[in-house]
C-alpha cells in the first residue's frame, strides 16, 4: 500500500484527500530509498564567510610604519543568510493509492512508502528538487558555486586607542569568499518517491 501525493494552488484538498502538513515550508525531494520516503530535514539558512587578511601600510595621522606594528593578520568573518528559493506556495495533499485514479502515460507523481504497480521510480533525480521550466525538461542543475567578491571603499577605522583614516596605502586582501550551505546540508525537504507512469495508463 502506498500514498500518492499531489498539491493544489487554491482552496483545500479535494474530497478523499488529506492535507500533508509535513510539507509546510518544505519542497519535496526525490529519494531512491523507499525507507527514506517521508523523512524531513534540511535548513533554510546558510553560513556565509570570508577569509580576510591585510598587511602593513601607511596610516594617516601616524608615522608610517610605527615601530613594532606589522598591521597584518587574517580572520574568518561570517554571518548567516536566510535562504528563500523562488517558489509558488501550494497545499500538499495525500491519499491511499491503489491505482484507483487514471494518470496519463509518462505522468510524474510523488509517493510515500512504495512504487505502485505500473509506475517506475525515477532514479536520476535523487537529491534534486523539482523546478518548473519550459525547456531542457528532465535535465538537472547543480547548486551554484557561491564564491563572490565584495565591493570595498576607503573609510575610517580604529585600531586600538587610535583613530586613523584609510588613505589607500594600506593593502588588503580577502574581499572574496564563499556563501554556501554547510557541507552535506540541503534546503528544507520532505523525501518522496518520484515515479513515472508506464506507457500503459490504467
Amino acid at each position: 500500500m502506498t500514498e500518492i501525493i499531489t498539491f493544489v494552488k487554491t482552496g483545500n484538498c479535494p474530497d478523499g484527500w488529506e492535507e500533508a502538513t509535513m510539507f509546510l515550508d518544505c519542497i519535496p525531494l526525490p529519494t531512491n530509498t523507499i525507507s527514506e520516503s517521508g523523512d524531513a530535514g534540511g535548513v533554510n539558512t546558510a553560513y556565509h564567510y570570508h577569509n580576510c587578511s591585510w598587511y602593513r601600510g601607511q596610516l594617516q595621522g601616524a608615522d608610517p610604519y610605527p615601530p613594532g606594528w606589522s598591521y597584518s593578520g587574517t580572520k574568518r568573518l561570517g554571518s548567516t543568510i536566510t535562504l528563500d528559493p523562488k517558489h509558488v506556495k501550494v497545499r500538499f495533499c495525500k491519499k491511499i493509492y491503489n491505482n484507483d485514479l487514471t494518470y496519463p502515460a509518462l505522468s510524474i507523481m510523488m509517493f510515500f512508502d512504495d512504487v505502485p504497480y505500473g509506475w517506475n521510480l525515477l532514479t536520476a533525480f535523487e537529491g534534486y528538487y523539482p523546478k518548473g521550466a519550459s525547456s531542457s525538461l528532465g535535465s538537472t542543475q547543480a547548486e551554484p558555486a557561491t564564491s563572490h567578491t565584495h565591493s570595498r571603499s576607503a573609510g575610517s577605522f580604529t585600531c586600538g586607542d587610535y583613530s586613523y583614516k584609510y588613505i589607500g596605502a594600506v593593502s588588503q586582501t580577502g574581499n572574496t569568499g564563499s556563501g554556501s550551505l554547510t557541507a552535506g546540508e540541503q534546503f528544507k525537504y520532505v523525501k518522496v518517491l518520484f515515479c513515472q507512469r508506464g506507457n500503459q495508463p490504467r
Partner: protein, 112 residues
C-alpha cells in the same frame, strides 16, 4: 434479488471488457511531466516556471523567493599578532550571492 446481483456483475464485467478506467484525478490537482506538453485534460501552469512548489497553508498560489542574496559585511577584525588591537570598520562592502537548490526541470500540469 438474484437477478439484481447478476445484473450488477454483468454491468461490471461489461465495463471491464470495454476497458473503462478508474476515474481521473480531481480538478485542480497537479502532476509533472518531462514531455514537451501536458497531456490532454491537463494544462501547463506557467506560474511555476523557474520556481519550486513550496508547502504552505496560507497565501496559496502566491510567488516569492529569490536567487540573488544581497549581503553586507562589516569586516571588523583584529590583528593576529600578539598585540591584538581591535580593528573596526576596516573593510565593508555589499555583495550579491546567487544561490538556488540543485534541481531538475519539469512542467507542472493542472487537471482541468
Amino acid at each position: 434479488m438474484v437477478m439484481g446481483i447478476f445484473s450488477t456483475l454483468f454491468v461490471k464485467h461489461s465495463q471491464l471488457r470495454k476497458g473503462i478506467k478508474a476515474p481521473l484525478p480531481p480538478s485542480g490537482t497537479y502532476m509533472m511531466t518531462t514531455e514537451s506538453a501536458c497531456p490532454a485534460g491537463w494544462t501547463e501552469d506557467i506560474d511555476f516556471v523557474d520556481r519550486h512548489p513550496l508547502g504552505a497553508n496560507a497565501d496559496l498560489g502566491t510567488t516569492g523567493g529569490t536567487e540573488d542574496y544581497s549581503h553586507y559585511h562589516s569586516h571588523g577584525s583584529s590583528r593576529a599578532d600578539s598585540q591584538s588591537y581591535p580593528v573596526a570598520n576596516w573593510n565593508t562592502g555589499t555583495a550579491t550571492i546567487t544561490w538556488y537548490p540543485a534541481n531538475f526541470k519539469v512542467k507542472f500540469c493542472v487537471r482541468n
